[in-house]
């Protein structure tokens, strides 16, 4: 039997949703019939609107997805102005205030506390600068990720930005691909450092070379079926296909159509293409693609560049992220700035937009490590840029604990999350920076905190993987984290093993400190990387190296933050929620 979601999608989906959003916006939140809430909130996702969690009814998260994370001059500033005008909540966040933008691990931007009544004006303003929220959520082509410094990087092999943009233009608002069985995440990598993170995507294009008709052609190898969610992580599998840049869009369309027709529409928990790949295997997948979905002979895979992949790889030479000052092929520089947990307050975001305009081309690019990159900074302007006050906090040379931190949205807004994440990871990073000395030679140390198994912070591919849990401490349930080790991408990607489970959240910084101390004592030499060290040990040995303990780290979020309407509100009880609210913020009384 088709699920409710499939029935709603059959009735109305895709671009038809826009007129309905505008109608509801005109008439107000209360115009959405009570018995149609589930259906409409599911459909709104297609336009990048996600209803916030319980206690925050009538407020939405809005996601804006620029392909490859490239925000052209003027686009970043418009998003900041929209956040300033519309993304304000009824209570303050103690770290970030009220009004910010979130850079996500899929190179998108998320705004919170958005009112439905304001959405048409926001859409118009986004469209006026060439941006859109189309298919940012929902069962379709999500934001296409890729090398954020495409066209600007000396490690580039093939132009990922051109293909990401072509895929975006082809498959956004494309009726034949609007309604897929589930979300569809696509990555395009063009460099030899692997910064597109193709291994964890449904569909990955990776740089490769191939002899075609006696000539060496640069293009892409194709992998399918990666993803991290639901305790079922998979790396994308090699389907033995090489696509020339000219063929890539047709190959992508064929694979998307294959998923559309063969993905499981009866069980959403079995719907992602990784499960179809489990069932079919890459050989049958390729055969079906060739026979039914493309009308040309597919090339066998070419020679890839995976040997040199360093992004998020833990031990390889080369860049692990895009932070820092890097020379472009044209002699200008790109400057990667660290954004701790991806969140930028509105006032600082204006300063960053000014700095990008004054010292670079005005482009602001978003990375999968929740950071931003300014491009086209002339050599003579680099020092001026670095002296800007705003770069003290958004630094091109941050401490490794700040640089390595990633966190998802967490219980602040997310329905699925089990624990508070962003404020907690900020506190972790600061405590670690102030209290823990990294062992000699460790310049990159990635700690990813995800609130649940959906894995939006990509926890399984970090040096230290943290995943939301609960435990009982002194007889009371408290927020806790599972701790995993050994994850990373690179030539031989590996998911973390979950070594210590249900560690009270206030003991995690002590656990990381002890782990690093034990690593420093026990490693073979000062050149042995943390990932190598972990790779040489079994789970039992590693468990002995994690010694959770309370320290002077203070965690104000040990209670059940999900049971609040907003974890940081002075009176946070669900019954005190000011939601749902009218457009002006006035609470709408309940019928009870």
């Amino acid at each position: 039997m088709a699920s409710d979601v499939e029935q709603w999608k059959d009735e109305l989906y895709g671009t038809d949703i826009r007129a309905e959003i505008e109608r509801f916006a005109e008439e107000g939140w209360e115009a959405i019939p009570d018995d149609e809430h589930d259906a409409w909130f599911e459909r709104f996702k297609w336009y990048g609107l996600y209803h916030q969690r319980a206690g925050q009814e009538s407020y939405f998260m809005m996601r804006i997805g620029p392909p490859g994370g490239v925000l052209e001059p003027g686009q970043f500033r418009e998003i900041v102005e929209i956040a300033d005008d519309f993304s304000r909540g009824p209570a303050e966040n103690p770290v970030f205030g009220n009004g910010w933008i979130d850079v996500t691990t899929r190179q998108a931007i998320q705004l919170h506390w958005i009112r439905l009544e304001d959405v048409p004006e926001i859409f118009e303003r986004l469209e006026s600068v060439g941006l859109s929220t189309v298919q940012a959520c929902g069962d379709s082509w999500r934001n296409i990720v890729g090398c954020p410094v495409a066209g600007k990087d000396k490690h580039e092999h093939v132009d990922a930005d051109a293909l990401a943009t072509e895929l975006h233009d082809t498959f956004k608002k494309n009726e034949a691909h609007s309604n897929l069985p589930r979300k569809w995440k696509v990555s395009v990598t063009g460099c030899d450092e692997g910064c597109g993170q193709g291994d964890i995507n449904d569909l990955a294009f990776e740089p490769a070379e191939k002899e075609v008709d006696g000539e060496t052609v640069t293009g892409y190898n194709v992998r399918v079926g990666g993803g991290l969610s639901r305790n079922e992580p998979r790396f994308a599998r090699d389907i033995d296909v090489f696509a020339t840049p000219e063929q890539a869009v047709d190959v992508a369309g064929g694979i998307s159509a294959l998923f559309r027709d063969n993905g499981d529409r009866e069980n959403r928990y079995n719907a992602r293409i990784k499960f179809l790949m489990d069932e079919w295997g890459p050989e049958k997948f390729r055969e079906t693609l060739q026979e039914e979905y493309v009308d040309f002979e597919l090339h066998a895979a070419g020679e890839d560049l995976r040997e040199s992949y360093s992004y998020n790889a833990g031990e390889a030479d080369g860049k692990h992220d895009h932070v820092g000052v890097h020379e472009q092929p044209d002699g200008n520089y790109y400057v990667g700035l660290n954004v701790l947990v991806g969140r930028i307050g509105v006032d600082e975001a204006y300063d960053l937009a000014d700095a990008a305009d004054e010292h670079g081309s005005g482009e602001v690019r978003l990375t999968q490590r929740q950071n931003i990159v300014f491009t086209d900074v002339p050599e003579e302007s680099v020092d001026d840029l670095r002296s800007q006050d705003v770069l003290e906090h958004y630094s091109p040379d941050p401490h490794p604990f700040q640089r390595g931190s990633i966190a998802c949205t967490g219980t602040e807004f997310c329905s699925l999350s089990i624990v508070e994440t962003k404020n907690r990871q900020v506190r972790y990073a600061r405590w670690l920076t102030n209290n823990v000395e990294l062992p000699e030679g460790v310049e990159n140390f990635h700690v990813h905190l995800s609130g649940c198994t959906a894995s939006c912070a990509q926890p399984q591919i970090a040096d230290v993987s943290l995943r939301g849990m609960k435990t009982r401490k002194d007889g009371e349930p408290v927020e806790a984290l599972d701790i995993g080790l050994g994850g990373g991408l690179g030539e031989e990607p590996q998911f973390a093993s979950w070594i210590a489970e249900r560690v009270p959240a206030d003991e995690v910084p002590g656990a990381i400190a002890n782990l690093l101390e034990n690593f420093e004592e026990a490693r073979d030499s000062e050149t042995q990387s943390f990932r190598e060290f972990v790779g040489e040990r079994d789970d039992e040995e590693l468990a002995d190296l994690i010694e959770p303990e309370e320290t002077d780290y203070d965690d104000p979020f040990m209670h059940n933050t999900k049971r609040t309407w907003y974890p940081y509100a002075e009176d946070d009880d669900l019954n005190e929620s000011p939601a749902p609210a009218k457009a002006d913020g006035t609470p709408i009384p309940s019928d009870d």
């Binding site: 589930d38 089990i418 939301g468 609960k470």
Partner: protein
């Protein structure tokens, strides 16, 4: 009266009549033997993957983990509340729950 029950948002919620009623991430107290050897078992619910109405009882299929012994498993037909005069009355996660026997296979997403 027809009761519409479904899971929402990747299994984050049980929705009853288009209202988000039961959330993941709460710790439920389960009686001995229904989940693991702990008595009682304090089980964190991590996701819902099915929901049904059994008589007047709303039952959920879910995945959970015991906070004491670490057992992770699925739970079929956990009672999460009941329908009284057409209204959903949730059971608190703190109350000791046992699993009801299946009486219907008309499981909804």
């Amino acid at each position: 009266m027809t009761i519409a029950v479904r899971t929402l948002d990747d299994g984050a919620w049980i929705s009853v009549n288009d209202s988000r009623q039961v959330s993941v991430s709460d710790v439920w107290t389960l009686s001995h033997g229904t989940f693991c050897g702990c008595e009682p078992a304090y089980v964190l619910l991590e996701g819902f993957f099915g929901v049904d109405v059994s008589g007047s009882i709303v039952v959920a299929d879910t995945v959970g983990r015991c906070l004491d012994c670490g057992t992770q498993d699925s739970i079929d037909r956990l009672p999460v509340g009941r329908i009284v005069d057409g209204e959903f009355k949730p059971y608190g996660p703190e109350g000791v729950q046992s699993i009801v026997e299946p009486t219907s296979r008309t499981r909804r997403e």
